[in-house]
Symmetry: C2
Subunit: 173 residues, 2 copies
Amino acid sequence: MTAPPPRLDATQLGAYFALIEASSLLKHAVEQQLRDAGDLSYVQFQLLATLGDSPTGSRRMTDLADGVVYSRSGLTYQAQTLEKRGLVTRTPSADDERSVTVTITEEGRAVLAGIFPGHVAVLDDLLFAPLSRSDVEALADVLARARDHMRRTPPRSAEPRRRKKTTGTDQAP
Amino acid sequence: MTAPPPRLDATQLGAYFALIEASSLLKHAVEQQLRDAGDLSYVQFQLLATLGDSPTGSRRMTDLADGVVYSRSGLTYQAQTLEKRGLVTRTPSADDERSVTVTITEEGRAVLAGIFPGHVAVLDDLLFAPLSRSDVEALADVLARARDHMRRTPPRSAEPRRRKKTTGTDQAP
DNA sequence: GTGATGTGCTTCGAAGTCGAAGCAACTGGA
DNA sequence: TCCAGTTGCTTCGACTTCGAAGCACATCAC
């Protein structure tokens, strides 16, 4: 009953904590700015930005949810909110009746454009100010690899729709 | 006033998105493990871990909230929850009657110990697997600097109630 | 076709989260 | 001492978030 072997050394632990803390701090700061500048929550901004980034300005609900790492039901809620405000439209897909296509409106783009400068300013002040060019490059490189790995390794949504049971943590008779 | 020049290049944008995405994905995965292993939310785990890390096993509410980047009211709620489960105790401070000292209990430490191995395993699999030793070192270094900078730079909410008149831009030490 | 199963989205209920307001204790200057 | 301003925490109300359950369409094997 001695301590189990923790396979993390001090550097790893430091990286982990720094990652969580830095992203939390940054997110809070950005959230504040978004609230002030365009009365958007962070998720809403992410959604608009994702849509704005798309060539067509639209995405399917599910893809949007995956993109911003968000629950489907939560996305339904936010999409409704954004639709009420006229920043996106939701239309049934042509090829698949079940599917809903979300599209950013002109007004949505306008809000996005209005927010963006301040958004960038916050990032500059808080995230990039103390970092050199090569710091940023290293950060982008390492985190992109980590992200891609995590995307590839379905941690939680291995089975989005819980199958009855396939593995035997507890085995049925 | 035409569009102000966005001062972010592609690399910076990539670093920003990768940071948000990676931390989101990681947090979700960890959340899942915490739920399964010890029925704790991420915040609750952070709180216990912070307390467990303290030499005395205790902290003031406010310091705790600052440590995990959390609202005070939210902390009150979580502290009550943890107290009900017997994982922490809350006692008025000796020197300041307003202040509440939160202390981790033996049971709290036990829960923490039970969770830790699985927690580490998730980190290994998802975050560290695709990264080299020097990657992790770079990550820890860069993010630690960013975090420290953000901690030092009160974003925009520096004064929730404080009415300081220090002209938002004074940097002169 | 037809039924079984999978997929896309929404609804529902419960829990978590935040900011503002409020209470009580501390502080410093007159 | 007194009192106004500050600080530490909690309460309150409104909103957000999630997972599970549910509905409707799609797809596949036969």
